[in-house]
Protein backbone atom coordinates (compact mmCIF):
# COMPACT_ATOMS: atom_id res chain seq x y z
CA UNK A 1 0.00 0.00 0.00
CA UNK A 2 1.26 3.43 -0.85
CA UNK A 3 2.14 5.52 2.08
CA UNK A 4 0.29 8.66 2.53
CA UNK A 5 3.34 10.87 2.04
CA UNK A 6 1.54 14.07 2.81
CA UNK A 7 0.50 12.86 6.19
CA UNK A 8 3.92 11.42 6.78
CA UNK A 9 5.56 14.71 5.92
CA UNK A 10 3.31 16.55 8.29
CA UNK A 11 4.35 14.19 11.00
CA UNK A 12 8.03 14.61 10.23
CA UNK A 13 7.71 18.34 10.15
CA UNK A 14 6.01 18.09 13.45
CA UNK A 15 9.08 16.43 14.95
CA UNK A 16 11.54 18.93 13.61
CA UNK A 17 9.53 22.05 14.22
CA UNK A 18 8.20 21.51 17.65
CA UNK A 19 7.24 25.09 18.17
CA UNK A 20 5.09 25.11 15.13
CA UNK A 21 3.46 21.84 16.06
CA UNK A 22 2.72 22.79 19.56
CA UNK A 23 1.93 26.42 19.03
CA UNK A 24 -1.58 25.91 20.06
CA UNK A 25 -0.51 24.39 23.35
CA UNK A 26 1.82 27.23 24.30
CA UNK A 27 0.25 30.11 26.02
CA UNK A 28 1.18 33.36 24.52
CA UNK A 29 0.14 36.85 25.40
CA UNK A 30 -1.77 37.05 22.17
CA UNK A 31 -4.12 34.46 23.45
CA UNK A 32 -4.68 36.11 26.75
CA UNK A 33 -8.03 37.66 27.21
CA UNK A 34 -8.55 40.68 29.32
CA UNK A 35 -7.57 39.72 32.83
CA UNK A 36 -10.07 40.16 35.58
CA UNK A 37 -8.50 43.13 37.29
CA UNK A 38 -9.81 44.27 40.59
CA UNK A 39 -10.11 47.99 40.29
CA UNK A 40 -10.69 50.27 43.21
CA UNK A 41 -14.28 51.22 43.37
CA UNK A 42 -14.26 54.71 41.99
CA UNK A 43 -16.98 57.21 42.29
CA UNK A 44 -17.09 58.73 38.81
CA UNK A 45 -17.85 62.29 39.71
CA UNK A 46 -15.01 62.44 42.22
CA UNK A 47 -12.31 60.80 40.21
CA UNK A 48 -12.65 63.15 37.34
CA UNK A 49 -11.51 65.90 39.61
CA UNK A 50 -9.17 64.15 41.98
CA UNK A 51 -7.40 60.85 42.19
CA UNK A 52 -8.47 58.17 44.64
CA UNK A 53 -7.18 59.11 48.03
CA UNK A 54 -7.78 57.95 51.52
CA UNK A 55 -9.00 60.84 53.56
CA UNK A 56 -8.18 59.43 56.95
CA UNK A 57 -8.29 56.13 58.74
CA UNK A 58 -11.91 55.85 58.43
CA UNK A 59 -13.80 53.32 60.43
CA UNK A 60 -15.06 53.30 63.94
CA UNK A 61 -16.25 49.79 64.51
CA UNK A 62 -18.91 48.67 66.82
CA UNK A 63 -21.98 50.17 68.38
CA UNK A 64 -22.40 53.86 69.09
CA UNK A 65 -21.09 53.92 72.60
CA UNK A 66 -20.39 57.60 72.92
CA UNK A 67 -23.91 58.76 72.25
CA UNK A 68 -25.98 59.25 75.32
CA UNK A 69 -29.47 58.10 75.74
CA UNK A 70 -30.92 56.41 72.70
CA UNK A 71 -31.20 52.68 72.67
CA UNK A 72 -29.51 50.88 69.89
CA UNK A 73 -32.63 49.77 68.08
CA UNK A 74 -33.73 53.26 67.13
CA UNK A 75 -30.77 53.55 64.85
CA UNK A 76 -31.93 50.74 62.66
CA UNK A 77 -34.19 53.08 60.78
CA UNK A 78 -31.12 54.65 59.24
CA UNK A 79 -29.80 51.46 57.88
CA UNK A 80 -31.49 51.95 54.57
CA UNK A 81 -29.34 54.98 54.00
CA UNK A 82 -26.16 53.06 54.37
CA UNK A 83 -23.77 54.22 51.75
CA UNK A 84 -22.73 51.73 49.17
CA UNK A 85 -19.17 52.01 50.33
CA UNK A 86 -19.92 50.43 53.60
CA UNK A 87 -21.53 47.49 51.94
CA UNK A 88 -18.34 46.86 50.06
CA UNK A 89 -16.75 46.86 53.43
CA UNK A 90 -18.26 43.56 54.09
CA UNK A 91 -19.72 43.57 57.31
CA UNK A 92 -18.93 40.92 59.16
CA UNK A 93 -19.93 37.53 59.51
CA UNK A 94 -21.03 36.65 62.95
CA UNK A 95 -17.63 35.24 63.63
CA UNK A 96 -16.37 38.76 64.13
CA UNK A 97 -17.74 40.21 67.28
CA UNK A 98 -17.51 43.93 67.41
CA UNK A 99 -15.44 45.11 70.31
CA UNK A 100 -17.88 46.16 72.91
CA UNK A 101 -16.99 48.37 75.80
CA UNK A 102 -17.88 47.09 79.15
CA UNK A 103 -16.75 48.90 82.29
CA UNK A 104 -13.17 49.74 81.66
CA UNK A 105 -10.47 47.18 82.06
CA UNK A 106 -7.30 48.49 83.65
CA UNK A 107 -5.12 50.39 81.19
CA UNK A 108 -3.13 47.98 79.07
CA UNK A 109 0.25 47.26 80.65
CA UNK A 110 2.20 47.32 77.45
CA UNK A 111 1.92 49.99 74.80
CA UNK A 112 -0.39 48.79 72.09
CA UNK A 113 0.45 49.43 68.54
CA UNK A 114 -2.66 50.88 67.01
CA UNK A 115 -2.57 50.18 63.34
CA UNK A 116 -5.35 51.88 61.46
CA UNK A 117 -8.22 49.54 61.88
CA UNK A 118 -8.73 47.86 58.54
CA UNK A 119 -9.23 44.64 60.33
CA UNK A 120 -12.25 43.22 58.64
CA UNK A 121 -11.67 43.99 55.02
CA UNK A 122 -9.15 45.55 52.77
CA UNK A 123 -11.77 47.70 51.23
CA UNK A 124 -10.52 49.93 48.50
CA UNK A 125 -13.28 52.37 48.78
CA UNK A 126 -13.13 55.08 51.33
CA UNK A 127 -16.22 56.76 52.53
CA UNK A 128 -15.33 60.03 50.98
CA UNK A 129 -17.15 63.23 51.51
CA UNK A 130 -20.62 62.13 50.63
CA UNK A 131 -23.71 63.20 52.39
CA UNK A 132 -24.91 59.85 53.50
CA UNK A 133 -26.20 58.86 56.83
CA UNK A 134 -23.65 57.86 59.41
CA UNK A 135 -22.88 54.36 58.81
CA UNK A 136 -24.39 51.89 61.07
CA UNK A 137 -22.93 48.53 61.68
CA UNK A 138 -25.47 45.77 61.93
CA UNK A 139 -26.38 44.76 65.41
CA UNK A 140 -23.44 42.95 66.89
CA UNK A 141 -23.78 39.25 66.76
CA UNK A 142 -24.53 37.02 69.63
CA UNK A 143 -21.32 36.97 71.49
CA UNK A 144 -21.01 40.64 72.13
CA UNK A 145 -23.63 41.54 74.67
CA UNK A 146 -21.80 43.54 77.26
CA UNK A 147 -23.84 43.72 80.37
CA UNK A 148 -26.07 40.85 79.39
CA UNK A 149 -29.14 43.04 79.60
CA UNK A 150 -31.05 44.68 76.83
CA UNK A 151 -29.36 48.03 77.45
CA UNK A 152 -27.29 49.39 74.58
CA UNK A 153 -23.55 49.10 75.17
CA UNK A 154 -22.05 52.35 76.34
CA UNK A 155 -18.61 53.58 77.11
CA UNK A 156 -17.74 53.90 80.75
CA UNK A 157 -17.66 57.38 82.18
CA UNK A 158 -13.86 57.44 82.18
CA UNK A 159 -13.69 56.37 78.55
CA UNK A 160 -16.37 58.85 77.59
CA UNK A 161 -14.55 61.70 79.30
CA UNK A 162 -11.28 60.71 77.66
CA UNK A 163 -12.92 60.49 74.23
CA UNK A 164 -14.63 63.83 74.74
CA UNK A 165 -11.29 65.37 75.59
CA UNK A 166 -9.72 63.90 72.49
CA UNK A 167 -12.55 65.30 70.41
CA UNK A 168 -12.16 68.72 72.03
CA UNK A 169 -8.42 68.74 71.38
CA UNK A 170 -8.89 67.78 67.75
CA UNK A 171 -11.71 70.28 67.20
CA UNK A 172 -9.51 72.95 68.75
CA UNK A 173 -6.67 71.98 66.46
CA UNK A 174 -9.01 72.27 63.48
CA UNK A 175 -10.27 75.62 64.68
CA UNK A 176 -13.85 74.68 65.57
CA UNK A 177 -13.54 74.73 69.33
CA UNK A 178 -12.08 77.46 71.46
CA UNK A 179 -13.18 76.57 74.95
CA UNK A 180 -11.71 74.68 77.86
CA UNK A 181 -10.57 71.11 77.41
CA UNK A 182 -12.60 69.53 80.17
CA UNK A 183 -14.05 66.32 78.80
CA UNK A 184 -17.61 67.56 79.16
CA UNK A 185 -20.20 67.76 76.41
CA UNK A 186 -21.12 71.36 77.07
CA UNK A 187 -22.82 73.73 74.65
CA UNK A 188 -19.51 74.92 73.23
CA UNK A 189 -18.40 71.41 72.46
CA UNK A 190 -21.73 70.50 70.93
CA UNK A 191 -21.71 73.57 68.74
CA UNK A 192 -18.19 72.83 67.61
CA UNK A 193 -19.23 69.30 66.73
CA UNK A 194 -22.17 70.60 64.75
CA UNK A 195 -19.95 73.03 62.87
CA UNK A 196 -17.53 70.24 62.03
CA UNK A 197 -20.30 67.94 60.91
CA UNK A 198 -21.78 70.62 58.72
CA UNK A 199 -18.45 71.37 57.12
CA UNK A 200 -17.73 67.70 56.52
CA UNK A 201 -21.13 66.85 55.12
CA UNK A 202 -22.01 64.51 57.96
CA UNK A 203 -25.36 64.26 59.66
CA UNK A 204 -25.45 67.16 62.08
CA UNK A 205 -26.13 65.57 65.44
CA UNK A 206 -23.88 67.56 67.76
CA UNK A 207 -22.87 64.23 69.25
CA UNK A 208 -19.92 61.89 69.05
CA UNK A 209 -21.40 59.32 66.72
CA UNK A 210 -19.10 56.81 65.10
CA UNK A 211 -19.05 58.50 61.73
CA UNK A 212 -17.99 61.81 63.24
CA UNK A 213 -15.35 60.13 65.36
CA UNK A 214 -14.05 58.30 62.34
CA UNK A 215 -13.86 61.53 60.36
CA UNK A 216 -11.92 63.13 63.17
CA UNK A 217 -9.46 60.28 62.94
CA UNK A 218 -10.41 58.21 65.95
CA UNK A 219 -10.71 54.69 64.75
CA UNK A 220 -12.25 52.00 66.85
CA UNK A 221 -10.11 50.07 69.24
Amino acid sequence: MKKNWTDYLKQVLGWTAPTAATLSSIWSPVQAGPLPVLLPEAHPSNTRLQPLTFVMPNRMEGPEIYIGHRSHSSHRSHSSHRSHYSSAGGYTSPSYSAPVYSPPPPPPPAPVYNAPSMVTTPSWSSPSKTTTAPYQPPAPASGSASSGTTAAPRASQQDAIAMTMRVQVELMRLGYYKGKIDGKMGPGTKEALRAFQRAEGLVVTGMMDNATLARLGFVGK
Binding site: P111, Y113, Q158, R173, K180, I181
Partner: protein
Protein backbone atom coordinates in the same frame (compact mmCIF):
# COMPACT_ATOMS: atom_id res chain seq x y z
CA UNK B 1 24.11 69.99 70.28
CA UNK B 2 21.14 69.32 72.49
CA UNK B 3 22.00 68.31 76.06
CA UNK B 4 20.37 65.42 77.84
CA UNK B 5 20.00 67.13 81.20
CA UNK B 6 18.43 70.23 82.60
CA UNK B 7 16.94 71.52 85.81
CA UNK B 8 13.25 71.91 86.48
CA UNK B 9 10.92 73.21 89.18
CA UNK B 10 8.64 70.50 90.52
CA UNK B 11 5.52 71.62 92.28
CA UNK B 12 3.70 68.78 94.01
CA UNK B 13 4.81 65.25 94.86
CA UNK B 14 5.57 63.03 91.90
CA UNK B 15 4.51 59.43 92.20
CA UNK B 16 7.40 58.14 90.11
CA UNK B 17 10.76 59.17 88.67
CA UNK B 18 10.37 57.82 85.16
CA UNK B 19 7.79 59.56 83.01
CA UNK B 20 6.79 59.48 79.37
CA UNK B 21 6.18 63.01 78.14
CA UNK B 22 3.28 63.19 75.68
CA UNK B 23 1.17 65.99 74.33
CA UNK B 24 -2.49 65.85 75.26
CA UNK B 25 -3.75 64.25 72.07
CA UNK B 26 -1.24 61.43 72.19
CA UNK B 27 -1.59 60.99 75.95
CA UNK B 28 -5.33 60.45 75.63
CA UNK B 29 -4.86 57.77 72.98
CA UNK B 30 -4.05 55.40 75.80
CA UNK B 31 -1.09 53.67 74.18
CA UNK B 32 0.94 54.32 77.32
CA UNK B 33 -0.62 53.71 80.76
CA UNK B 34 -1.72 57.05 82.15
CA UNK B 35 0.11 56.55 85.45
CA UNK B 36 3.41 56.76 83.60
CA UNK B 37 2.60 59.84 81.55
CA UNK B 38 3.40 63.50 82.10
CA UNK B 39 1.09 65.54 79.90
CA UNK B 40 2.98 68.23 78.00
CA UNK B 41 0.87 71.38 77.83
CA UNK B 42 1.66 74.45 75.80
CA UNK B 43 1.01 77.82 77.36
CA UNK B 44 -1.96 78.59 75.17
CA UNK B 45 -4.01 75.53 75.98
CA UNK B 46 -6.60 75.60 78.76
CA UNK B 47 -7.14 72.19 80.29
CA UNK B 48 -9.03 71.05 83.35
CA UNK B 49 -6.30 69.30 85.32
CA UNK B 50 -8.93 67.82 87.62
CA UNK B 51 -10.09 65.69 84.71
CA UNK B 52 -6.49 64.73 84.00
CA UNK B 53 -6.15 63.67 87.61
CA UNK B 54 -9.33 61.60 87.37
CA UNK B 55 -7.88 59.94 84.31
CA UNK B 56 -4.90 59.06 86.52
CA UNK B 57 -2.18 60.94 84.71
CA UNK B 58 0.98 61.29 86.76
CA UNK B 59 1.85 64.91 86.13
CA UNK B 60 1.57 67.89 83.88
CA UNK B 61 4.54 69.58 82.22
CA UNK B 62 4.51 73.27 81.47
CA UNK B 63 8.07 73.84 80.27
CA UNK B 64 7.91 77.61 79.93
CA UNK B 65 5.86 78.41 83.00
CA UNK B 66 7.61 79.40 86.20
CA UNK B 67 5.10 77.90 88.59
CA UNK B 68 1.90 75.87 88.76
CA UNK B 69 -1.38 77.54 87.88
CA UNK B 70 -3.74 78.16 90.79
CA UNK B 71 -6.20 75.53 89.66
CA UNK B 72 -3.63 72.82 88.87
CA UNK B 73 -4.45 69.76 90.96
CA UNK B 74 -1.73 67.51 89.55
CA UNK B 75 2.02 67.74 90.17
CA UNK B 76 3.50 70.23 87.73
CA UNK B 77 6.94 70.11 86.17
CA UNK B 78 7.85 73.57 85.00
CA UNK B 79 10.57 76.20 84.89
CA UNK B 80 12.98 74.19 82.74
CA UNK B 81 16.38 75.87 82.53
CA UNK B 82 16.60 74.76 78.93
CA UNK B 83 13.17 74.23 77.41
CA UNK B 84 14.59 72.65 74.24
CA UNK B 85 15.82 69.61 76.13
CA UNK B 86 12.44 67.93 76.64
CA UNK B 87 9.84 67.36 73.94
CA UNK B 88 6.75 65.19 73.59
CA UNK B 89 7.70 61.57 73.10
CA UNK B 90 10.74 61.73 75.35
CA UNK B 91 11.12 59.61 78.47
CA UNK B 92 12.55 61.55 81.40
CA UNK B 93 13.84 60.82 84.86
CA UNK B 94 12.92 63.55 87.32
CA UNK B 95 14.64 63.78 90.68
CA UNK B 96 12.20 65.42 93.07
CA UNK B 97 14.82 66.63 95.51
CA UNK B 98 17.33 68.21 93.16
CA UNK B 99 15.01 69.11 90.30
CA UNK B 100 17.41 67.41 87.93
CA UNK B 101 15.70 66.26 84.79
CA UNK B 102 17.41 63.77 82.50
CA UNK B 103 16.27 62.59 79.11
CA UNK B 104 16.67 58.82 78.99
CA UNK B 105 15.03 58.42 75.59
CA UNK B 106 14.67 61.14 73.01
CA UNK B 107 12.16 60.78 70.21
CA UNK B 108 13.66 61.75 66.89
CA UNK B 109 17.29 61.72 68.02
CA UNK B 110 19.78 60.35 65.53
CA UNK B 111 20.77 57.72 68.09
CA UNK B 112 19.31 56.40 71.33
CA UNK B 113 21.30 54.23 73.70
CA UNK B 114 20.72 52.51 76.99
CA UNK B 115 23.55 52.88 79.47
CA UNK B 116 23.89 49.51 81.16
CA UNK B 117 26.77 49.80 83.64
CA UNK B 118 29.89 51.81 84.50
CA UNK B 119 31.91 48.65 85.14
CA UNK B 120 34.34 47.29 82.59
CA UNK B 121 36.97 44.58 82.52
CA UNK B 122 39.18 46.49 80.07
CA UNK B 123 40.93 49.84 80.46
CA UNK B 124 41.39 51.05 76.91
CA UNK B 125 43.89 53.90 76.62
CA UNK B 126 41.39 56.05 74.73
CA UNK B 127 38.24 55.11 76.64
CA UNK B 128 35.68 57.88 76.36
CA UNK B 129 33.61 56.47 79.22
CA UNK B 130 36.13 55.59 81.95
CA UNK B 131 34.82 52.73 84.05
CA UNK B 132 34.31 52.70 87.80
CA UNK B 133 34.05 49.77 90.13
CA UNK B 134 30.77 50.50 91.75
CA UNK B 135 27.57 48.59 92.17
CA UNK B 136 25.18 50.16 89.74
CA UNK B 137 22.58 47.48 89.28
CA UNK B 138 19.98 50.17 89.87
CA UNK B 139 20.61 51.13 86.25
CA UNK B 140 19.31 47.79 85.04
CA UNK B 141 16.17 48.13 87.13
CA UNK B 142 15.59 51.58 85.68
CA UNK B 143 16.16 50.30 82.15
CA UNK B 144 13.57 47.57 82.62
CA UNK B 145 11.10 50.35 83.48
CA UNK B 146 12.29 52.49 80.60
CA UNK B 147 12.14 49.94 77.80
CA UNK B 148 8.32 49.68 77.61
CA UNK B 149 8.09 53.48 77.34
CA UNK B 150 10.29 53.70 74.26
CA UNK B 151 8.53 54.35 70.95
CA UNK B 152 7.86 51.12 69.12
CA UNK B 153 8.81 52.61 65.81
CA UNK B 154 12.41 53.24 66.88
CA UNK B 155 14.58 51.65 64.22
CA UNK B 156 17.64 51.02 66.35
CA UNK B 157 18.54 51.07 70.04
CA UNK B 158 22.08 50.93 71.42
CA UNK B 159 23.39 49.20 74.53
CA UNK B 160 26.50 50.92 75.91
CA UNK B 161 28.55 51.07 79.05
CA UNK B 162 30.92 49.86 80.51
CA UNK B 163 30.89 46.23 79.55
CA UNK B 164 27.40 44.68 79.22
CA UNK B 165 28.54 41.09 79.71
CA UNK B 166 29.54 41.92 83.28
CA UNK B 167 25.82 41.95 84.07
CA UNK B 168 25.67 38.18 83.73
CA UNK B 169 22.10 36.93 83.32
CA UNK B 170 20.73 40.45 83.39
CA UNK B 171 22.02 41.05 79.88
CA UNK B 172 19.86 38.32 78.31
CA UNK B 173 16.99 39.62 80.41
CA UNK B 174 17.39 43.12 78.98
CA UNK B 175 17.58 41.69 75.49
CA UNK B 176 14.39 39.72 76.04
CA UNK B 177 12.65 42.77 77.44
CA UNK B 178 13.55 44.73 74.31
CA UNK B 179 12.45 41.89 72.09
CA UNK B 180 9.07 41.84 73.78
CA UNK B 181 8.43 45.57 74.04
CA UNK B 182 10.17 46.68 70.85
CA UNK B 183 9.92 43.81 68.39
CA UNK B 184 10.78 45.96 65.37
CA UNK B 185 13.79 47.68 66.92
CA UNK B 186 17.26 46.41 66.08
CA UNK B 187 19.71 46.35 68.96
CA UNK B 188 23.30 47.50 68.64
CA UNK B 189 25.31 46.22 71.59
CA UNK B 190 28.82 47.47 72.36
CA UNK B 191 30.98 44.86 74.04
CA UNK B 192 34.63 43.89 74.22
CA UNK B 193 33.52 40.33 73.60
CA UNK B 194 35.98 38.81 76.06
CA UNK B 195 33.38 37.01 78.15
CA UNK B 196 31.97 35.34 75.06
CA UNK B 197 35.11 33.21 74.97
CA UNK B 198 33.08 31.09 77.41
CA UNK B 199 30.61 29.16 75.24
CA UNK B 200 28.04 29.16 78.01
CA UNK B 201 27.96 32.95 77.99
CA UNK B 202 27.60 32.94 74.22
CA UNK B 203 24.72 30.49 74.59
CA UNK B 204 22.99 32.68 77.13
CA UNK B 205 22.38 35.49 74.64
CA UNK B 206 20.71 33.33 72.03
CA UNK B 207 17.67 35.65 72.00
CA UNK B 208 19.83 38.28 70.38
CA UNK B 209 20.50 36.25 67.24
CA UNK B 210 18.73 37.92 64.36
CA UNK B 211 17.71 40.78 66.57
CA UNK B 212 20.95 42.44 67.64
CA UNK B 213 24.35 43.31 66.24
CA UNK B 214 27.34 42.92 68.55
CA UNK B 215 29.82 45.76 68.03
CA UNK B 216 33.22 44.48 69.14
CA UNK B 217 36.46 46.47 69.06
CA UNK B 218 39.61 44.83 67.73
CA UNK B 219 42.64 47.04 67.52
CA UNK B 220 45.20 44.89 65.75
CA UNK B 221 45.83 41.52 64.19
CA UNK B 222 48.31 40.54 66.92
CA UNK B 223 47.82 40.12 70.67
CA UNK B 224 50.70 42.31 71.78
CA UNK B 225 49.36 45.44 70.14
CA UNK B 226 45.69 44.85 70.99
CA UNK B 227 46.36 43.91 74.61
CA UNK B 228 48.46 47.04 75.02
CA UNK B 229 45.69 49.27 73.72
CA UNK B 230 43.06 47.74 76.00
CA UNK B 231 45.48 47.39 78.91
CA UNK B 232 44.51 43.80 79.64
CA UNK B 233 46.63 40.70 79.08
CA UNK B 234 44.92 37.95 77.15
CA UNK B 235 42.24 40.29 75.84
CA UNK B 236 42.96 39.65 72.18
CA UNK B 237 42.68 35.87 72.48
CA UNK B 238 39.51 36.12 74.52
CA UNK B 239 37.93 38.62 72.14
CA UNK B 240 38.75 36.59 69.06
CA UNK B 241 37.35 33.46 70.66
CA UNK B 242 34.29 35.41 71.69
CA UNK B 243 33.78 36.61 68.14
CA UNK B 244 33.95 33.08 66.79
CA UNK B 245 31.61 31.76 69.46
CA UNK B 246 29.03 34.37 68.61
CA UNK B 247 29.47 33.95 64.89
CA UNK B 248 28.93 30.21 64.96
CA UNK B 249 25.73 30.75 66.92
CA UNK B 250 24.36 32.95 64.17
CA UNK B 251 24.90 36.38 65.72
CA UNK B 252 25.63 39.44 63.64
CA UNK B 253 28.98 41.05 64.39
CA UNK B 254 30.45 44.46 63.72
CA UNK B 255 34.15 45.09 64.28
CA UNK B 256 35.25 48.53 65.51
CA UNK B 257 38.71 49.96 65.07
CA UNK B 258 39.69 53.27 66.65
CA UNK B 259 42.37 55.11 64.70
CA UNK B 260 45.20 56.65 66.71
CA UNK B 261 48.96 56.45 67.18
CA UNK B 262 48.78 53.09 68.95
CA UNK B 263 46.65 51.36 66.36
CA UNK B 264 47.92 52.93 63.14
CA UNK B 265 51.04 50.78 62.84
CA UNK B 266 48.99 47.65 62.25
CA UNK B 267 45.91 49.10 60.60
CA UNK B 268 46.57 47.63 57.15
CA UNK B 269 47.35 44.24 58.67
CA UNK B 270 44.19 44.48 60.70
CA UNK B 271 42.12 44.99 57.58
CA UNK B 272 43.69 41.99 55.91
CA UNK B 273 43.23 39.95 59.08
CA UNK B 274 39.52 40.63 59.19
CA UNK B 275 39.07 39.81 55.54
CA UNK B 276 40.99 36.54 55.82
CA UNK B 277 39.79 35.32 59.20
CA UNK B 278 36.42 36.92 59.85
CA UNK B 279 34.75 37.37 56.50
CA UNK B 280 31.39 36.75 58.20
CA UNK B 281 31.35 40.12 59.95
CA UNK B 282 28.47 42.28 58.79
CA UNK B 283 30.22 45.61 59.23
CA UNK B 284 33.63 47.14 59.99
CA UNK B 285 33.72 50.63 61.51
CA UNK B 286 36.87 52.74 61.52
CA UNK B 287 36.47 55.44 64.12
CA UNK B 288 38.19 58.74 64.68
CA UNK B 289 39.23 59.47 68.24
CA UNK B 290 36.77 61.00 70.68
CA UNK B 291 38.75 63.32 72.97
CA UNK B 292 36.92 62.33 76.15
CA UNK B 293 37.85 60.46 79.29
CA UNK B 294 41.12 58.55 79.17
CA UNK B 295 41.86 59.89 75.69
CA UNK B 296 42.43 63.31 77.18
CA UNK B 297 44.90 62.02 79.72
CA UNK B 298 46.74 59.95 77.14
CA UNK B 299 46.80 62.52 74.42
CA UNK B 300 50.55 62.27 73.92
CA UNK B 301 50.30 58.53 73.31
CA UNK B 302 47.38 58.79 70.96
CA UNK B 303 47.16 61.98 68.95
CA UNK B 304 47.80 61.86 65.24
CA UNK B 305 46.45 64.61 63.07
CA UNK B 306 43.76 62.94 60.93
CA UNK B 307 45.11 64.70 57.89
CA UNK B 308 48.24 62.58 58.26
CA UNK B 309 46.49 59.23 58.54
CA UNK B 310 43.78 59.95 56.00
CA UNK B 311 45.37 58.17 53.02
CA UNK B 312 46.25 55.06 55.03
CA UNK B 313 42.75 54.96 56.46
CA UNK B 314 41.20 55.25 53.03
CA UNK B 315 43.32 52.38 51.82
CA UNK B 316 42.47 50.09 54.75
CA UNK B 317 38.79 50.88 54.55
CA UNK B 318 38.56 50.27 50.82
CA UNK B 319 40.58 47.08 51.22
CA UNK B 320 37.62 45.67 53.13
CA UNK B 321 34.82 47.34 51.20
CA UNK B 322 36.24 46.11 47.90
CA UNK B 323 36.21 42.56 49.24
CA UNK B 324 32.55 42.65 50.10
CA UNK B 325 32.59 43.66 53.74
CA UNK B 326 30.50 46.74 54.44
CA UNK B 327 32.84 49.35 55.87
CA UNK B 328 32.27 52.76 57.38
CA UNK B 329 34.36 55.64 58.63
CA UNK B 330 33.05 57.49 61.67
CA UNK B 331 34.06 60.68 63.42
CA UNK B 332 36.44 61.95 60.75
CA UNK B 333 35.33 65.22 59.18
CA UNK B 334 35.24 65.27 55.40
CA UNK B 335 37.81 68.02 55.01
CA UNK B 336 40.56 65.90 56.55
CA UNK B 337 39.52 62.66 54.84
CA UNK B 338 40.73 61.96 51.31
CA UNK B 339 37.93 62.40 48.83
CA UNK B 340 38.23 58.80 47.71
CA UNK B 341 37.03 57.74 51.15
CA UNK B 342 34.02 60.07 51.31
CA UNK B 343 31.53 57.43 50.21
CA UNK B 344 32.43 55.44 53.32
CA UNK B 345 32.11 58.35 55.75
CA UNK B 346 28.98 58.37 57.92
CA UNK B 347 27.33 60.99 60.03
CA UNK B 348 27.65 59.29 63.34
CA UNK B 349 28.09 61.66 66.21
CA UNK B 350 25.07 61.71 68.51
CA UNK B 351 23.02 64.91 68.33
CA UNK B 352 23.66 65.69 71.94
CA UNK B 353 27.44 65.92 71.54
CA UNK B 354 27.75 67.10 67.98
CA UNK B 355 29.30 70.50 67.22
CA UNK B 356 31.02 72.21 64.33
CA UNK B 357 34.22 74.25 64.23
CA UNK B 358 34.15 77.99 63.51
CA UNK B 359 35.98 77.18 60.30
CA UNK B 360 32.93 75.19 59.22
CA UNK B 361 30.97 78.35 58.72
CA UNK B 362 29.64 78.35 55.16
CA UNK B 363 31.05 74.94 54.27
CA UNK B 364 28.98 73.40 51.53
CA UNK B 365 29.69 69.85 52.74
CA UNK B 366 28.30 70.46 56.18
CA UNK B 367 25.01 68.60 55.65
CA UNK B 368 26.98 65.47 54.86
CA UNK B 369 29.76 65.84 57.40
CA UNK B 370 29.80 64.34 60.87
CA UNK B 371 31.39 67.40 62.40
CA UNK B 372 33.13 67.13 65.74
CA UNK B 373 32.62 66.02 69.27
CA UNK B 374 31.68 68.67 71.76
CA UNK B 375 34.83 67.79 73.67
CA UNK B 376 37.02 68.73 70.72
CA UNK B 377 39.32 71.51 71.86
CA UNK B 378 42.41 73.21 70.42
CA UNK B 379 44.71 70.30 71.30
CA UNK B 380 42.61 68.05 69.09
CA UNK B 381 42.12 70.34 66.19
CA UNK B 382 43.42 69.11 62.88
CA UNK B 383 45.35 71.62 60.84
CA UNK B 384 43.40 70.40 57.85
CA UNK B 385 39.97 71.71 58.86
CA UNK B 386 38.56 73.94 56.20
CA UNK B 387 35.30 74.86 54.57
CA UNK B 388 34.43 73.71 51.08
CA UNK B 389 33.16 76.06 48.45
CA UNK B 390 30.18 74.86 46.52
CA UNK B 391 32.13 74.25 43.32
CA UNK B 392 34.73 72.15 45.12
CA UNK B 393 32.10 69.99 46.69
CA UNK B 394 30.24 69.50 43.44
CA UNK B 395 33.08 67.63 41.77
Amino acid sequence: MLPLHTRAVISGALSRQLLKVLDLAEALRGDVPHEQVAVHLDDGIDVDTGVLRDLRFAAVMRPGATDRRPDDVLPVICGLSNTDVVNPGDVIRVRQDSGQLSVLYRRGANANSLFLTVQCNSRCLMCSQPPRDEDDLWRVRELLDLIPLIDRDLPQLGFTGGEPTLLGPLLPELIRSCKAALPWTGLHILTNGRNFADPAVADSVHDAAGFATWAIPLYADVPSRHDHVVQAAGAFDATVNGIYNLAERGHAIEIRFVVHAQTLPRMQHFAEFIWRNMPFVSHVAFMGLEPMGFAKVNRDLLWVDPVDYGPALAEAAWHLQDRGITTSIYNVPLCVLPKAAWPLARQSISDWKNVYDPACEGCSMRPRCCGFFASHGPAWRSRGIRAFRFDEAAE
